[in-house]
């Protein structure tokens, strides 16, 4: 079983890294022929960085749109970030100080994450408009994330797994030295679901994460009168 999971994680990591990198390169290379920032927009690059930061850290636009979605979505994402950072302790030896520091917050963030996900999922059933736009994969994605949260919390708070052995496994994995993985139901479930999420990432709506950086309505400065913006394919039209 250790070998199966080792293989699974090598595959999932490769798909995640290569898949997302390819998408990013693709977004990067695709020209944006016209300046289309949603105005009012910052007039400088520094301003754009600030706008993007507010968007990423506080979900500024979503806040303007709908407080329920904002609260649930923000709760989920911030909790997820804490949980992911907390998990760095299983990949580092010795554990970095700041990772050790966030450990207690990260543990309870697991519950907040699950609560956020549950709320977001409830909306897909309860709100008619959102029910209308939800696809089967929207539900599956929530199920997957909730499954990850639930199996993780299970190991932490219900049936402890041999976490030291798990850490040995992952430290070994990073050095291509396969160590035994504890034979443990919740652990198998947790790891399988995480691998599935990594595999799905480059092919799914999870691309909103890299996508937001490339959104012209958000990442362009509002300076069209001061500077001439011309894409390569549009410039060719002038040569004709």
């Amino acid at each position: 079983m250790s070998l199966v999971f080792a293989a699974l994680f090598y595959l999932a990591s490769a798909v995640l890294v290569i898949g997302v990198a390819r998408k990013i390169v693709d977004y990067w290379r695709t020209p944006a022929p016209l300046l289309i920032p949603t105005t009012p927009a910052p007039t400088t690059q520094g301003g754009v960085v600030l706008r993007m930061f507010r968007e990423l850290a506080f979900f500024e636009s979503l806040f303007k749109a709908n407080l329920w979605i904002w609260a649930l979505g923000w709760l989920f994402h911030v909790s997820l970030a804490l949980v992911v950072l907390r998990h760095l302790r299983y990949f580092t030896e010795p554990v970095w100080d700041w990772v050790a520091f966030i450990q207690p917050f990260g543990m309870y963030a697991g519950f907040a994450m699950a609560a956020g996900l549950a709320g977001l999922w409830a909306r897909r059933f309860l709100v008619e408009r959102i029910r209308y736009i939800s696809t089967f994969s929207d539900h599956l994605m929530l199920a997957l994330l909730l499954g990850i949260a639930a199996s993780g919390l299970m190991m932490k708070f219900v049936a402890h797994t041999d976490i030291v052995a798990v850490k040995t496994f992952f430290l070994g994995l990073m050095l291509f030295d396969i160590q035994p993985l504890p034979g443990d139901g919740p652990l198998y479930a947790h790891l399988s679901l995480v691998a599935l999420l990594m595999l799905a990432f480059p092919f799914s709506k999870l691309l909103h994460a890299p996508g937001v950086f490339f959104s012209p309505s958000r990442n362009q400065a509002d300076n069209p009168r001061e500077r001439r913006h011309l894409s390569a394919w549009a410039a060719k039209l002038e040569a004709k």
Binding site: T30, T39, S61, I69, K205, G211, V212
Partner: protein, 513 residues
Amino acid sequence: MAGPDPKAPALREYFPAIPALQPGAMAGAKSYVANDKIQESLGFPGQLAESWQDTHDAVIAKMGDLLGKQRAFKVYMDACVHCGACTDKCHYFIGTNDPKNMPVARQDLMRSVYRRYFTLPGKLFPKLVGARDLTSEVLDEWYTYYNQCSECRRCSVFCPYGIDTAEITMAGREMLDSVGYGQKYSNEIIAKVHKIGNNLGLPGPALTNTLEGLEEDVKEDTGIDVRYPLDVQGAEVLFVTPSADFFAEPHIESLIGYGKVFHAAGISWTLSTKASEAGNFGMFIGNYDQLRKIALRVREAALELGVKRIVVGECGHAWRVAYSFWNTLTGIGAGADDPFAIQLQSQLDHRYKQPMHICELTWDLIGQGAISFDKEANDHRIITFHDSCNVARGSRMGDSPGGQFEIPRNIIRAVANHYVEMAPGTTHEQTFCCGGGGGLLTDDLLDLRIKGALPRMETLQQVVDSHGVNFMATICAICKAQFTKVVPYYGFKMSMIGGVHQLVSTAIRLGDK
């Protein structure tokens, strides 16, 4: 449209209430399709191919082409998570209750096909991810619902990834045009602009007549010789305005106002026969070539007339094109280092913004004390201001972000004593579209236009009730035309609608300067 006369929906008692869905409510509101003559004059196929397979392949090829050329389209196809933030933001959804008029659902009409042909899960498990084959029914659905979007960008304000449905609508219309399935209204207008020089098809002699008549009217009215010059070589300012300003009511009142501002400030200016249209429907149909070709007329006119400045009249999408796109398309602007753009930019006077909005010009003159007003002349009016969508969310005025909101309001306050804001959340960048923008200002979509105006009519009703507002000023030719047409359905008078420079015109002091 055959059938009963369209009626306005009832104003909602507690808005913003979210309407219950009525699937298919607007499935029948289909704008007229362009005939082969119109299509071919723009270089598009005259009609759909005989075999569906050919059309199918051409659409998918075009989609691939756009995905490679337009970053916005590509990113927006991938990034949506169906969070629902946009679902209640579109005025057409609010007015029609048709779920396919929710921005995300409108995008999904396209996204479902994108996923089927361009993503792995869509190829392998279409049902799972909501992917579907492109069929002729899907193409009809695109035609129907991409011609029920006014490209106003309100949804893009609220999307956490900034997904702009307008970009997807434009891509959709571009794909439809490319296979011979264009919309009559927009494409007919583009054909006219190429053939005659403006959207309304006013030939040069008619334009001359109109402007001479205008000079006589103003003389009669004020006793002053205000000029409305055409094709004057060596004028300082080339003034480009929507052609509706030349004869439509209330548009012409603003044209009179522009002339008075130039007169009072002593600025030499000219209109141009060649560029007798600021509007650019190339943007509406998402076609870069048309967008560029139409914009190039202004460049040519500027070079021919040798002007130092280019100023744009009251028109929403035209100002977006001028402000955001002209430098890219034609070199009208500053900061270029390529020969094409330098040819024009070295001619322009860069002490002034290029291009400049008429409101920027008027406000600058007010700031300098170069023009003055009898504000009492507007005392019979209690005024509110409708932010036009393309100005609000696709452009700017002045030096800092948000100038497009402040400057027109500042002008109104400088020329009139009674000004009232409409409800927050429905003005500034969150303004509602008038319901007729983006190539939908056609009688075959009248029902949609009336319903799409609902949210604006509700907020207008509020200030009418609370403050006795009797004038809604706006700086867009389409807003003016749309509102004068639809406000009677809501029980308002057409004469309530007018331009900011109509108010300027009423109050400006002439002659003694």
